[in-house]
């Protein structure tokens, strides 16, 4: 399948101290791809995702967003750092992230959370941003909660606000780090259903998840990380029905 490359990661390495957590991972997402990233706890899924938008600084490897490379350089201590923080900020604005713990800005209402990025980062006129924010809140089913503070919402509602906040930036790629893991079981469905809609619309998404059904039914490609390396990857139909490695088989049997 060839398409327009939305996001490309080349041979990414990341260590914390002596401990190498990501050992050369490459990945490419074309426009409209939904890549599900699976792996046991501690396999480096979050770290990998956080290296893409430089919440963690990778030790080496390249990230390309729609063909544009995020430039890195060595500082005088020999550490890899962004060459141009403005470029990184620009890239981050195009790479929305949805966190396991929602991370809504607690002193802002739902509406203010959704408006923050468009108005203050992208400098969209407020009226225009507001109109769009209202549409997005309707889309995630929270029109009537616009004036609530995050602490006054359920976890599922907060995560849907976080998704609306991410969408408000009109991102090229959306990064999800276990978006349903912090939710009570009965609230998982409402968030997954919003994510399914996004996939259907053709959003490019990288989704770290423990929801096997989401990976199997929604992803266009599934990647299994094991100890910081890509252990197995491919179309979910093939991967789930016919796991090739012992590690992935063991993982699947633990998940089911």
């Amino acid at each position: 399948m060839t398409g327009i490359s939305a996001l490309k990661i080349n041979d990414l390495h990341k260590s914390f101290g002596q401990h190498e957590v990501i050992k050369g991972v490459s990945m490419e997402a074309n426009k409209g791809d939904v890549i599900a990233i699976l792996g046991a706890s501690g396999s480096g899924k979050s770290t990998f995702l956080r290296c893409i938008n430089l919440l963690e600084t990778p030790n080496s490897g390249d990230v390309f967003l729609a063909g544009e490379k995020i430039e890195m350089k060595q500082n005088r201590h020999g550490e890899t750092v962004p060459a141009n923080i403005r470029q990184v900020e620009r890239m981050r604005a195009r790479l929305a992230m949805v966190f396991q713990g929602f991370n809504l800005w607690s002193h802002m209402t739902v509406m203010e959370n959704v408006l923050e990025g468009p108005v203050h980062v992208q400098k969209t006129p407020r009226a225009e941003a507001r109109e769009k924010a209202e549409a997005l809140l309707a889309k995630v089913g929270l029109s009537d909660r616009a004036d609530y503070y995050p602490a006054h919402l359920s976890g599922g509602q907060q995560q849907r606000v976080a998704i609306a906040r991410a969408l408000a930036m009109d991102p090229d790629v959306m990064l999800f780090d276990e978006p349903t893991s912090a939710l009570d079981p009965e609230l998982v469905g409402e968030v997954l259903s919003v994510m399914r809609d996004l996939a259907e619309e053709g959003r490019t998404m990288l989704v770290v998840t423990h929801e096997m059904s989401f990976a199997r039914d929604v992803s266009s490609k599934t990647v299994f990380l094991h100890k910081g390396e890509v252990c197995e990857e491919g179309p979910p139909a093939k991967l789930f029905s016919n796991p090739e490695t012992e590690q992935f088989r063991a993982f699947l049997s633990r998940m089911n």
């Binding site: 938008n53 919440l55 923080i85 403005r86 900020e89 620009r90 890239m91 981050r92 604005a93 790479l95 929305a96 992230m97 966190f99 713990g101 929602f102 991370n103 809504l104 800005w105 607690s106 002193h107 802002m108 923050e116 990025g117 203050h120 980062v121 992208q122 004036d147 609530y148 503070y149 995050p150 602490a151 006054h152 919402l153 359920s154 599922g156 509602q157 976080a162 906040r165 930036m169």
Partner: protein, 252 residues
Amino acid sequence: MENILSYIPLDISLIAENFDRFLYGVWTTLNLTVLALVFGGLLAIPMAIARASRHRVLSPLVWGYTYVLRGTPLLVQTYLIYYGLGQFEAVRQSWLWDPILSSAWWCALIAFTLNTSAYTAELLRGAIVDTPKGEVEAAIATGHSYGLRMRRIILPSAFRRAIPAYSNEVIFMLHGSVVASTITLQDILGVGRWLNGRYYLAYEGFITAAFLYFLIVFAITRVFRWIERRYLRHLTRRETTTATEMTPEPTR
């Protein structure tokens, strides 16, 4: 009424006669305290940001400043500025001397401002570093620059969380402002001292002063309670557990 008053072992009429002096004292106390809080607060913001940063020069520099100012009594700081600086010929010759450093009011204001700026900076620093890490990361991931996330996310959140501790600082500063009366100023306590000295009274002046301070503190607490209710609403947990039953927190 007359009879009741005669049982109170206080010379009420003397207090009443000098009430306008006490009002003037209230004015002096309030304007010193409020101005010190305003200027000290404004100084504290950049200092708190510097302290919370990992800047190799600014952070330890501000730490030293707050350490010294919080480690010495306000009375001593005020004396050093009022009596101490005047010892230097150069200071007395400089342009700062005439309108400012020779005036007790200005010296008190400077001492109070520096003092409250140190306490407020530390208090704000604490609130800044306590900003939930995830909220800061969400701002970084959205593309906020350092300055933008400080202005839009970290400070607004930190200011709110600092309100309860800051209300204490305001009361401490008010109480600390009695130091003004030791350098000739007629603040509330200054008027009390004057009254006692003038009429050889034991405590009429002090009782009145205590009562006035108490009233001001009472007003301050009320104001802060209102502010907390308005600006800390977002931190109160919802009362019901099901989302559908929820209504926005009522403003009590």
